[in-house]
């Protein structure tokens, strides 16, 4: 019994794959923005917040980094409703991805903040800037420049991890692949094509982030 590959279904499936890819991109855009924002707050809180807050952030980071994303997703989607918090699949996915990514990027942003010389803060304070201005205008931009490559990698990793949110029926790329293979009975070909789409997305995303970062943060970003 020979098995021959058949890609004849592909023409009719392009729309579904494109829709799924668009949802994956939407997920990662929201996660990147919300996750980065949250991790800046987290990193700032971990450095200069009161002791209980620092302990809470450290515990949060450890819990998220030492448990699988899939379990976090199930906990949020299936577990939270018993506390009365019921979320749409896509909102649950965004929340889980954001919380997961923030745990990793809090450490990254923290390392960036530590890399900015203390003299920068002192100079800015001496010029009469308020502490918040010092953080937002002086320290943060320099820190972001240092950590940008690490942040880029984390965003790409998160994009690849987002494949599992298909398990709570978010209609992203993997979900569309599951639906397609159920209809065409061409499981291997379907997942093969979708894997290539993911490969293209991750390479494109990386390139976009590098060139975008170079423009926004200036030279020296690789």
């Amino acid at each position: 019994m020979g098995y021959s590959l058949d890609f004849g279904w592909l023409a009719g499936a392009a729309g579904a794959i494109a829709r799924g890819a668009a949802t994956t991109v939407l997920l990662i855009v929201v996660t990147t923005l919300a996750g980065t924002f949250l991790s800046i707050l987290g990193a700032a809180g971990k450095r200069s917040g009161p002791k209980p807050l620092r302990t809470a952030i450290a515990a949060y980071v450890e819990v998220m980094r030492n448990t699988p994303f899939l379990v976090q997703l199930f906990f949020i989607f299936f577990g939270l409703p018993s506390l009365g918090i019921r979320l749409d699949p896509i909102l649950a996915a965004m929340l889980a991805m954001t919380l997961n990514m923030a745990a990793y990027t809090i450490e990254i942003v923290g390392a960036g903040l530590d890399a900015v010389p203390r003299g920068q803060t002192e100079a800015a304070l001496a010029l009469g800037l308020r502490p918040r201005q010092v953080f937002v205008k002086i320290v943060l931009p320099q820190a972001l420049k240092v950590i940008y490559p690490a942040l880029t990698s984390q965003i790409v990793i998160m994009m690849l991890e987002s494949a599992v949110v298909s398990q709570i029926a978010v209609r992203e790329l993997t979900y569309e692949a599951d639906m397609l293979q159920a209809r065409t009975f061409r499981a291997f070909e379907t997942y093969f094509v979708v894997t290539l789409v993911y490969l293209g997305l991750s390479m494109g995303l990386r390139r976009l982030l590098v060139s975008g970062g170079r423009r926004a943060l200036g030279a020296g970003v690789s």
Binding site: V63, N66, P68, L80, S82, A163, Y191
Partner: protein, 215 residues
Amino acid sequence: MIEFTVWDIVRNLLLATRWTVLLSLAAFIGGALVGLVVLFFRIAKNKWIKRIASGYIALFQGTPLLMQLFLMFFGLPMLGLRIEPWTAAMLGLTFFASAYLAEIWRSGVDALPRGQWDAGASLGLHYLQELRLIILPQAFAITRAPTVGFLVQLIKSTALTSIIGFEELVRTSNAINNATFEPFTVYGLVALIFFVMCFPLTQYARSLEKRASAH
């Protein structure tokens, strides 16, 4: 509905944890062996061999693990192999791990000063002896922290094999949840079990990192 006490839930989860541990170990050992081969290719002198290894690594690092598992699960039967979830999970995670481990160790080889190779050559060692006696021991030693860190990632990644039907911790917890309707407890306990497995390793990796940077 079957009555499940919390102890019943915990006991069943702990029984399933065996498979998570076994799969993690098997994939780590398998990944280390295949990763070693990929590493040899990656640091080879021939440009094309090097490029093939780079492509292999980029492929596994640029696609979701879930897709790799699906391709393994649906692809291998086409080659005429009868495949069980366990085999697909094991092979999928092995190749995934090999790409990451090869890249980690490659960074260790690159970090060694050129003089190490020259010194080996001046002692009359040939290429394989140089690697075995001088380069690899040092490369492994300086990359111990990221290697342990990757083991943590691998343990967490075994959760994905539940999706292709391998009966490990997460798949068992889904079944228990369907019987008890207590997702908060069940998934909370699963997270706790993973945490207990991963946290000591994370701390160990951190202490290795500190020791390395103290030198």
